[in-house]
């Protein structure tokens, strides 16, 4: 496939900055195979037929061509959580083959859903793992999604995720992104409901030639809606990270509040970290905060740790691990947490 433009900014900035999008081609063979395990209450899980309509027909994903192709060709899973029910769904993607899949979650009023999303594996040759997650979170429902990516470094990993939040819907997303060769992550969260709330935290750790290309749009439509984005991680060797975070306050989003923060630890001078926090506002009475920081290891922290006997290398490991660990600790599954920590320790 020819070159595509991934994760385009909702409002482009100067072209010469070369940050409006990321050009890339879909990698791997064209044959599509499912290797996805979905576990949970069978009564709420069903097949999602190819071509099923999107929750938001206007959602373009990381790239609209790639997403359209996925929707028109891939089967997937539908998860429908009845009102006031409490459910846990586990999804494991083993990238032993090219993956193209789709997951559509409809969480009815007052229901609670936790999704544990785990990706690992890979092939000797570069291949593509692409999937589309949609969440329709009805009034007073709560959704927690914990995703851990430990894919091999041969994988081009593309996630499209769209969320619609109704009144008082409460969503918490946690991503631990450690694996993958190229990671294109596109998140669009539509806070339509009054007092709807979403928190999205992403921890990443990149080395060698890894790429993390993250786009996040928080679209505030409902009154008193609240969003908080926090991405943090570390890069070494020639790894690259791009973060395009947009807080969009639409007309009617009175008394809404949004925040975005991107923190990147640069472990080598050859890494590249791009951060584009964007604030769009059509409503007066809102609060939008953004912060971005990229820097090398704090020498005072290094001195403190070394004064407790740790060598410089050990101290740097502790600093990197200590950045990511608080997010890993929130996964809540001991086996997955341990696997993630081992992956972190193997990389630094």
């Amino acid at each position: 496939m020819s070159e595509l433009l991934f994760n385009e900014l909702p409002r482009p900035t100067f072209r010469w900055l070369r940050v409006n999008h990321t050009p890339a081609s879909l990698l791997g063979e064209s044959e599509e195979t499912k290797s996805v395990l979905v576990k949970g209450n069978d009564a709420i899980i069903s097949e999602l037929p190819t071509g099923t309509a999107l929750i938001n027909p206007n959602y373009k994903g990381a790239n609209d061509v790639a997403l359209t192709q996925l929707v028109n060709s891939a089967e997937g899973y539908a998860v429908h959580v009845p009102a006031n029910a409490n459910e846990i769904v586990g999804i494991r993607i083993d990238a032993g083959a090219r993956i193209a899949s789709r997951f559509q979650f409809i969480v009815e009023e007052g229901a609670n859903l936790e999704v544990q999303f785990f990706l690992d594996g890979g092939l000797a040759n570069t291949t593509n793992v692409q999937y589309f997650n949609e969440y329709d979170v009805k009034a007073n429902a709560k959704v927690v999604v914990k995703k851990v990516n430990l894919l091999d470094d041969t994988i081009q990993h593309i996630e499209h995720r769209y969320t619609k939040l109704e009144d008082n819907a409460d969503v918490e997303y946690i991503n631990v992104e450690i694996g993958g060769k190229e990671n294109f992550l596109h998140y669009e969260h539509d806070l339509q409901g009054q007092s709807s709330k979403i928190v999205h935290d992403i921890a990443y750790l990149g080395n060698k030639e890894q790429k993390f290309d993250i786009a996040m749009l928080m679209s505030h439509g409902g009154k008193k809606s609240f969003s908080d984005i926090h991405t943090l991680g570390a890069l070494s060797d020639t790894a690259k990270k791009s973060f395009r975070g947009t807080l969009d306050f639409l007309r009617g989003a009175v008394a809404s509040e949004g925040a975005e923060e991107d923190t990147c630890l640069l472990l080598d001078p050859t890494v590249k970290s791009i951060s584009l926090p964007l604030l769009l506002c059509k409503e007066d009475n809102v609060v939008g905060n953004h912060a971005a920081s990229a820097g090398q290891i704090d020498q005072n922290k290094l001195f403190y740790l070394m004064s407790r006997g740790f060598s410089e290398v050990e101290a740097k490991h502790i600093i990197v691990e200590s950045m990511i660990r608080p997010i890993i600790d929130r996964i809540g599954d001991e086996v997955i947490e341990k696997a993630a920590l081992t992956a972190v320790r193997n990389k630094i």
């Binding site: 704090d298 922290k301 004064s307 691990e321 990511i324 660990r325």
Partner: protein, 247 residues
């Protein structure tokens, strides 16, 4: 008494600015030394230079610890040799619990495997002695701790790592009266004939519970006067202005 630390003609600069201008100091096992002085006199620089902070450059002189010249040694090698520094502003280490941090540090310094159950017991005992809520053992190091809790955590680490020389850099600053008393008692419990304590301070609150053998007045990068514990009272009465002419 056996000599533990010998500093000779030490000159130290930070970013090309000379801070210490020829320090001579000898500390023997079993002794408590206090360095007092005005803000900016070089007290914390002395502590950092002994611990080996690479941001501080030794231009001249030597530091001999336990018979070995450590002037060029890395920070962690000094820690393994038995030097501990309680920081004026302890940093936080999110993601690592207090228990895990101290246990790993102890294992690194001693080179021995520290057994979990025995360590838990020791940690609880030491925390109880410091009136330190034991639930903090499972919290991330200094994350969300108050100033007093951070200082207690420093003294807790000192008690468990059991160094030969403990340097307390402004440990009493920012503490209320009760916290100063608890910290002082912790230092008293730690101190014995085989180790030594170097206290860096600019006020005497912490010295009401700790009885120093030697008090040094540091002004403008030089030790201008050394005396016994009575010097603390003299400083209190005369202020530091009386010593500035000696620098």
């Amino acid at each position: 008494m056996a000599e533990l630390l010998q500093i000779k003609d030490l000159e130290v600069s930070v970013e090309d600015k000379k801070i210490l201008k020829g320090i001579d100091l000898t500390i023997n096992k079993g002794e408590v030394h206090v360095v007092m002085g005005t803000n900016g006199a070089g007290k914390s620089t002395l502590a950092n230079a002994i611990m080996g902070n690479p941001l501080y450059t030794v231009d001249k002189g030597s530091i001999v610890f336990d018979g070995n010249d450590i002037t060029e040694d890395a920070v962690n090698d000094r820690a393994k040799a038995g030097i501990f520094m309680s920081f004026q502003h302890p940093i936080s280490v999110p993601g690592i619990t207090v228990e895990n941090f101290i246990r790993t540090a102890k294992s690194t310094i001693t080179g021995e495997n520290v057994r979990a159950l025995a360590f838990k017991k020791e940690l609880k005992e030491k925390m109880d002695e410091l009136s330190f809520d034991t639930s903090y053992a499972q919290r991330y190091v200094n994350e969300g701790f108050s100033g007093g809790e951070r200082k207690k955590n420093e003294i807790l680490q000192m008690a468990i790592l059991n160094p030969k020389l403990a340097i307390l850099d402004e440990t009493d600053s920012g503490l209320d009266v009760d916290a100063v008393r608890i910290v002082s008692e912790g230092v008293n419990r730690f101190h014995n004939e085989d180790n030594a304590v170097l206290i860096i301070t600019h006020h005497n609150q912490i010295l009401q519970k700790l009885k120093p053998d030697f008090v040094h007045v540091l002004i403008n990068g030089k030790i201008v006067k050394t005396g016994d514990a009575s010097l603390v009272r003299e400083i209190e009465e005369k202020g530091y202005d009386a010593y500035k002419a000696l620098a």
